[in-house]
């Protein structure tokens, strides 16, 4: 089908964007990459009266280093993240996640901020943001606020970005020194939405786990951490038996549903397997660092 009629406004700065959003209230939606919004318009699932196009807001398109981590503008394209030398060297976990997002053409237009604000629990970037405790800067006509990742993903396709607000910048903290990361996704074909995905960070100390972080996608209304699994991992030598148990605990933290792609039971099982693989990858990298 073809999209319903709407009024189109191009914003050139963040100030202009928030002014337009304040003017039109709930009648307005932000158009960024459009790779999730436009399909909804084409299906006529949404009928926004006004689209505020923020693609001209170049000030939101940047990747820079900050305090050992990264600061990324919300309008930065997936493709730019995938190919960025800075990201590949300083935050390869993010570049790996970027490679898995959709397909090449989707990555040309799709934006980092858009993916986070869209808050699809099966998406790669929300899972990573939760894993690394990213902080999101959100602006409105009233001012700015910072939202931590654990508070940002509210529910299925619902983020903390409210009416009149726009996500502008995301800060990814520095990863723990001498830690390793792992990222494993299961989908039917490359580029499909994940049936489940797991990302992990592991830091070892004298053969025992000093810190483990596990984040999961596709198994709940939001990306999920696995606190019981993370607590269990701490202080343990991560041998096969321990990894299996951690995987099991991660599966128990998941809250998957049945759908046409997979049963809840299968998703829980997949989480267990991917957790072990992600931790193994992380251990390998930690050993090399």
């Amino acid at each position: 089908m073809k999209p319903p009629a709407f009024k189109y406004i191009a914003a050139r700065t963040v100030d202009e964007a928030v002014k337009h959003l304040a003017t039109h209230g709930e009648a307005a939606k932000i158009l960024a990459g459009g790779q999730s919004l436009t399909p909804m318009l084409n299906f006529r699932l949404l009928h926004p009266e006004v689209l505020v196009d923020i693609n001209p807001v170049k000030e939101l398109d940047f990747i820079s280093e900050r305090n050992g981590g990264l600061s990324i503008g919300a309008l930065t394209r997936h493709r730019a993240i995938e190919n960025s030398k800075l990201v590949r060297e300083k935050y390869p976990l993010l570049a790996k996640a970027a490679e898995e997002v959709g397909h090449l053409a989707i990555r040309t237009r799709g934006t980092f901020g858009g993916s986070l604000a869209h808050a699809d629990p099966a998406a790669e970037f929300p899972m990573i943001a939760l894993l690394v405790d990213a902080e999101m800067k959100v602006r409105s006509a009233a001012g700015a606020k910072t939202v931590k990742a654990k508070d940002f993903f509210v529910s299925y396709l619902a983020s903390a970005v409210g009416e009149g607000e726009i996500l502008t910048e995301i800060t990814l903290p520095a990863l723990p020194a001498r830690s390793g990361w792992g990222f494993h996704e299961l989908s039917r074909r490359p580029g499909d939405f994940a049936i489940a995905a797991v990302a992990a960070i592991v830091k070892m100390d004298g053969g025992k786990c000093a810190e483990a972080r596990i984040s999961m996608a596709g198994v709940g209304p939001t990306p999920l951490r696995a606190p019981a699994a993370e607590a269990f991992a701490k202080g343990k030598a991560l041998d096969e038996a321990a990894l299996k148990e951690i995987g099991k605990k991660a599966g128990e933290s998941a809250d998957p549903s049945n759908d046409v792609h997979a049963s809840a039971e299968f998703r829980r099982h997949v989480v267990g397997v991917l957790t072990q693989r992600a931790l193994k990858s992380a251990l390998d990298l930690a050993a090399k660092s």
Partner: protein, 162 residues
């Protein structure tokens, strides 16, 4: 409620100035307004790749972009690759290697392949398959498409080197 906008776009090197409704998809603008029907619609939600064009050199879904957003952009469609007397190496390779049957997916495959060959190493067939994963084909089973892209890449890269 029809919100009309004047846009200027360059398509395959030719400048156009037109007035479009805000909600007109770029693909529909190319097909209906400019009569460049080589670009196809297969799904209108971004998964099939038949609508793929190049915008400022990068492969893009023309079903997920509004024409008004393309104001000031340089667009390349399949019509700009070559013609019957002077086929683009990719088109020649698809012909030589039987990379199409009905041809509906082909324009999207070609435009994606241009982006891939220009910007990605494509060290092996696996990488070509991954790069083409966003373009669906119901006829060929993909093998000849992969071969066509591989052989064209060899040709195109040798030319550049010499």
């Amino acid at each position: 409620m029809s919100d009309k906008h004047k846009i200027q776009v360059t398509v395959n090197g030719v400048k156009y100035e037109r007035e479009v409704e805000a909600r007109t998809l770029l693909g529909d603008f190319l097909r209906e307004d400019l009569r460049l029907t080589g670009t196809r619609f297969g799904c209108e939600h971004g998964v099939c790749g038949a609508c793929t064009v190049l915008i400022d050199g990068a492969s893009t879904r023309s079903c997920l972009m509004f024409a008004v957003q393309a104001n000031g952009c340089e667009i390349a469609t399949v019509e700009g690759l070559g013609d019957m007397r002077n086929l683009h190496p990719l088109q020649q390779s698809f012909w030589d290697n039987h990379g199409l049957q009905c041809g509906f997916c082909t324009s999207g495959m070609l435009m994606t392949a241009v982006d891939l060959i220009e910007n990605y190493p494509l060290a092996n067939d696996e990488e070509i398959r991954l790069g083409l994963s966003g373009n669906l084909c119901r006829c060929t089973g993909y093998q000849n498409i992969v071969t066509s892209v591989r052989e064209a890449a060899k040709q195109m890269r040798t030319k550049v080197a010499s």
